[in-house]
Symmetry: C2
Subunit: 465 residues, 2 copies
């Protein structure tokens, strides 16, 4: 398996190529469609490909550019959209048999913005069923697979978006992130993923999982492309080159390493790689108990809100759910309301407690995920000597920032050997990156709302160092 045409090519570079006549939107769309045709049978990143729609949008983008209409950084850029974000006229399945054949007649607000920015929608990318799982290996449309080793999870729930970008089928994709669903697959697939502050990108027209935790986010090859897309989606693009430094003294951005042991056990090699990539000299710790409280708060809120979304389907047609998702929703239905009320109160307390960590630091750094990509279907593993549940582990370092609604970015932080080679095909000949002995690690950077520019400047500094 080879990587596609967009591996290593940034949105920023593609935009330059487009404007300087070295390529056209139509050529980029054709390259994307060809790459999907060639690579996706092994990865299942795409559920639906809209060749006609993509080529039509690309022709329009080319026409506009030729006429001097420039919609900005996403103009003519091929994009994948997670299969629970409404795109008018395309089948959107939510990864569920409940919605097989469903075709929305309206675009989600973020899709409207994508179109206004001139992006070319290539198709819908695989989601874990109803986005209710960080593994992306339970979906009515089949599991998405990790381009580094197709026997391994992409991570999820925005697994198709991550695999599509990581394999170079598209340079950019939309995802959603309720507990890490943008950042987990980004980290496991070796790309960048950004979950903005709560409600920064509107969620109208996005199928909900857990309303107070759901975030729309972006996945791309590097942090700079995430920022470009984020600005377009929040209509903050001012025409300036977003990759440039702001002119602020970036050296003053104070980065602290947040000891992840306060949240969950981590594979020491993963933690070491992320820490080295962070360059952080200072270290902070969560207050005692905060880690456990964050996890419990997350689980309680997500359970109750997800069950609220699905209670009628659970009553009317439980047989249409994937068995694992059904089991989890049944358990979620049983969580008593008073626990939700307490979780919402704990959330406010935790926001104050954790907020104090930002008193002396602008950006907190920690791994995005405590482990590298486990094999598809794996539900238990050993991490740092402890037997752990894979789902809980995958979510452990990302979900706190959904509870608190804070902006969080993951960027590639190198490779380590897979932690469980005896159980997984570490040296798979299918690995597309020619890195049979290593799997990617993500470094996560977290900031307060309003400090996003600083977050991305720190990311740029790390990447360039």
């Amino acid at each position: 398996m080879r990587t596609g045409p967009f591996a290593g090519r940034t949105v920023a570079a593609l935009g330059q190529d487009l404007r300087e006549g070295r390529t056209t939107a139509t050529e980029l769309a054709r390259q994307a469609l060809d790459a999907v045709a060639g690579l996706d049978p092994a990865l299942n990143a795409f559920v639906t490909v809209d060749a006609a729609g993509a080529l039509e949008a690309a022709r329009q983008a080319d026409g506009e550019l030729a006429e001097g209409t420039d919609r900005g950084p996403l103009h003519g850029i091929p994009v994948g959209v997670k299969d629970l974000i409404m795109v008018a006229g395309l089948p959107v399945t939510m990864g569920s048999r409940h919605f097989s054949g469903y075709v929305p007649d309206h675009d989600a607000a973020c899709v409207t913005r994508l179109r206004q920015a001139g992006a070319v929608i290539v198709g819908m990318t695989t989601t874990h069923e109803f986005a209710y799982g960080p593994t992306c290996d339970r979906s009515a449309t089949g599991p998405s697979r990790n381009p580094w080793d197709p026997a391994r999870m992409s991570g999820g729930s925005s697994g198709g978006s991550a695999a599509a970008v990581a394999a170079g089928m598209v340079p950019l994709a939309l995802g959603t992130d309720t507990g890490g669903s943008v950042r987990i697959p980004s980290a496991l697939c070796g790309i960048a993923g950004f979950k903005p502050a709560y409600d920064a990108i509107p969620s109208d027209g996005v199928f909900p999982l857990s309303r107070t935790l759901d975030h729309v986010g972006v996945l791309a090859g590097d942090a700079r492309d995430c920022l470009l897309a984020y600005r377009c989606l929040t209509a903050q693009d001012s025409g300036q080159d977003a990759g440039q430094d702001s002119g602020q003294d970036v050296s003053r951005a104070r980065v602290a390493w947040l000891d992840p042991a306060g949240l969950f056990p981590g594979d020491p090699r993963v933690v070491r790689a992320a820490r080295a990539a962070s360059g952080a000299e200072e270290e902070v710790r969560l207050p005692a108990d905060a880690g456990g409280e964050l996890r419990e708060t997350y689980t309680t809120i997500q359970s109750c809100e997800a069950a609220a979304v699905h209670a009628d389907r659970l009553a009317d047609a439980p047989e249409l759910f994937d068995a694992e998702v059904l089991d989890r929703l049944r358990a979620a239905e049983e969580v008593p309301g008073w626990r939700y009320v307490r979780a919402m109160a704990a959330r406010e307390r935790l926001a104050r407690t954790v907020g104090e960590l930002f008193g002396r630091h602008d950006v907190l750094a920690l791994p995005a995920v405590p482990m590298t990509a486990p094999p598809i279907g794996r539900r238990e593993a050993v991490l740092d000597g402890e037997k752990i549940a894979v789902r809980a582990a995958l979510l452990a370092y990302t979900s706190p920032w959904n509870v608190l609604g804070l902006p969080a970015l993951t960027v590639p932080a190198g490779l380590v050997d897979g932690p469980d080679s005896p159980n997984g095909p570490m040296d798979s000949p299918n690995s597309p990156m020619n890195s049979p002995s290593g799997l990617p690690v993500g470094l996560q950077l977290v900031c307060r709302p309003g400090q996003e520019r600083l977050l991305f400047e720190v990311a740029a500094r790390l990447t360039h160092s």
Copy 2:
């Protein structure tokens, strides 16, 4: 039984007497203490009387007035405080054996404001156990009784405050209102009661029942006194005579009768009396289903939030709860979280739907309670030919305004014969008001936040007509 010295005497008139030398705060405090000693054995309105504290506060109030320090309309006025609002140094029981012997060391925020306004705290008034019931006949400190007929409920949960004011023991009292707990006993005892907009009076230091429904409110002989107290408690007293017209054209205040049948069956005599008192010429109706949705939304939110408050006590010492309260809390613990999530969403929808009723009207009028005071202990009754649950009936016309957080005032609207004289001692010789054949009805007025002045001006117009 006779009525006490404050029956028919308003806070406004008492203030005039104080400032013109016809009485002193000390004399008013003594009158209140004597009235409690004489009248309360039959009514159980007070749980704790603080004679020493009241006389000390009164002496200080007299001293200040003599020195020319005037703290405003509540200066020197005796006040009762519901037995779950913290008063430093006094036992506060919440009506529960869980808190027998509990003495807080801080005043609630509203008590601090009372003291700053120069009020004289006479003691703590009976609450339904943990305020979890509109009947006020289940309390570790015994039921409060209706001054119109001590065999009947005062209504609750602020039953002691209402009985104390109705019987003329004090001219003013603080209560709390989660589903009607200020307005229900005010209506059943024939006085005025005001539940402000959500969070208008701070609830710090008030023992919670259901955080998003809890309101601190005031009970007094008439609406004008409620407004005086409300302004002092919200620090909005500007020194002007709050009973005067604002100079606005009150005739423009548009009052509509809200057909209460959309909420719950009502005793036709009660509905007629309230409607006649309202003087409303126009009539509006709730949208179909809104009544049922409001009731269900209220019950779900209250259940989950109350269980969140009490879960640890339920686990550790269930035997200390009243049996009926325990049963209700056990049921509340079982309400699933997804129903709470849906109720919170329904609440937002209902706010929009019901908000539209205010498009052409400033004030909605309806009865405060669908019936007159039932006998103590009564849990079932017949209303307009329908067998109903007494608790649900008592709450039916008031709780919607807690769900929506709207200001709501009840004012006396005359008397009707008790609905169930075969079961209750309608012609009790104990009736303090010499109205053996009638029980009071309350007219409720509801407005949008920010329109409170209009609400009180409408009340004044009705009272004076």
